[in-house]
């Protein structure tokens, strides 16, 4: 594989039916890159969680709004950028699912899982509106 990054860009409308499409694409890329089975699973789950958030909370299930996903494939890592067209949010204001008062809440664990399983995660409010989530995972030797 080249040392420069190859990129795969996908743009989907904000329908939850599209989650399986993104999952299949993510799994194909991590398989191609020869991630171990566990890492591939957690990358797939992290992308799925983030795209779910973008569709549901960012774009509020508005099918006229897009979620753009860029997979950047390098020799030793995969980087994923997920952009929505929503109002954005402040990641520091998201309550921790580990706090005792949140332990039995039915939601609020997705971002925690992404941060746990990926090597780098950043949340960026875009100047032109919307939110971008960046996540990266290195191939372990």
């Amino acid at each position: 594989m080249n040392k420069t990054a190859n990129e795969v860009d996908v743009s989907i409308c904000s329908a939850l039916d599209n989650l399986d499409l993104i999952q299949i694409l993510t799994d194909s890329l991590t398989d191609f890159m020869r991630f171990d089975e566990d890492s591939a699973h957690w990358i797939g789950m992290s992308v799925r969680e983030s795209v779910t958030n973008a569709i549901q909370h960012g774009n509020k299930l508005d099918v006229n709004k897009k979620v753009d996903i860029r997979f950047q494939v390098q020799q030793d890592r995969i980087s994923i950028f997920i952009k929505d067209q929503g109002a954005g949010f402040c990641v520091d204001e998201i309550p921790s699912p580990l706090d005792s008062e949140n332990l039995l809440k039915p939601s609020g664990r997705g971002i925690f899982y992404i941060r746990t399983f990926m090597d780098e995660v950043e949340f960026r409010n875009l100047a032109r509106g919307g939110m971008e989530v960046y996540m990266m995972k290195k191939i372990s030797n």
């Binding site: 939850l16 989650l19 566990d38 969680e49 779910t52 809440k105 039915p106 925690f112 899982y113 746990t116």
Partner: protein, 111 residues
């Protein structure tokens, strides 16, 4: 996502298979447990051994099911967690909430 229900004495075992993800998968679990509670069945085991994928919504559904069952004076136990489900529950401290069993007989005996 499929669920088959078995009865052992006064205990219901829900054998789940497939994916518990946002949407259909989570609804199947919710509806199955709701039906049991409606029929006054209050001792429930969720067998997750054949669940090959779960997302945060699926984990949330397990939590929601647990609180629904316990608030109806019932008991919910988890059986046959895959390594990945176990990890997802462990890192969110949920293994301290659920009673989890590897062996079906041990789960049955725990009621």
């Amino acid at each position: 996502m499929k669920i088959e229900t078995r009865t052992v004495g006064d205990i219901k075992i829900l054998d789940c298979s497939g994916r518990i993800t946002l949407g259909e998968g989570t609804m199947v679990v919710r509806n199955a447990v709701r039906e049991l509670l409606k029929a006054n069945e209050k001792k429930i085991i969720l067998n997750l051994a054949e669940v090959n994928y779960i997302d945060s919504s699926g984990i949330g559904e397990l939590v929601s099911t647990y609180t629904t069952v316990t608030s109806n004076d019932g008991q919910l136990k988890l059986l046959g967690l895959t390594r990945k489900i176990q990890e997802l529950l462990a890192i969110t401290k949920l293994l301290t909430v659920f009673q989890v069993f590897e062996d079906e007989q041990a789960a049955l005996d725990s009621f």
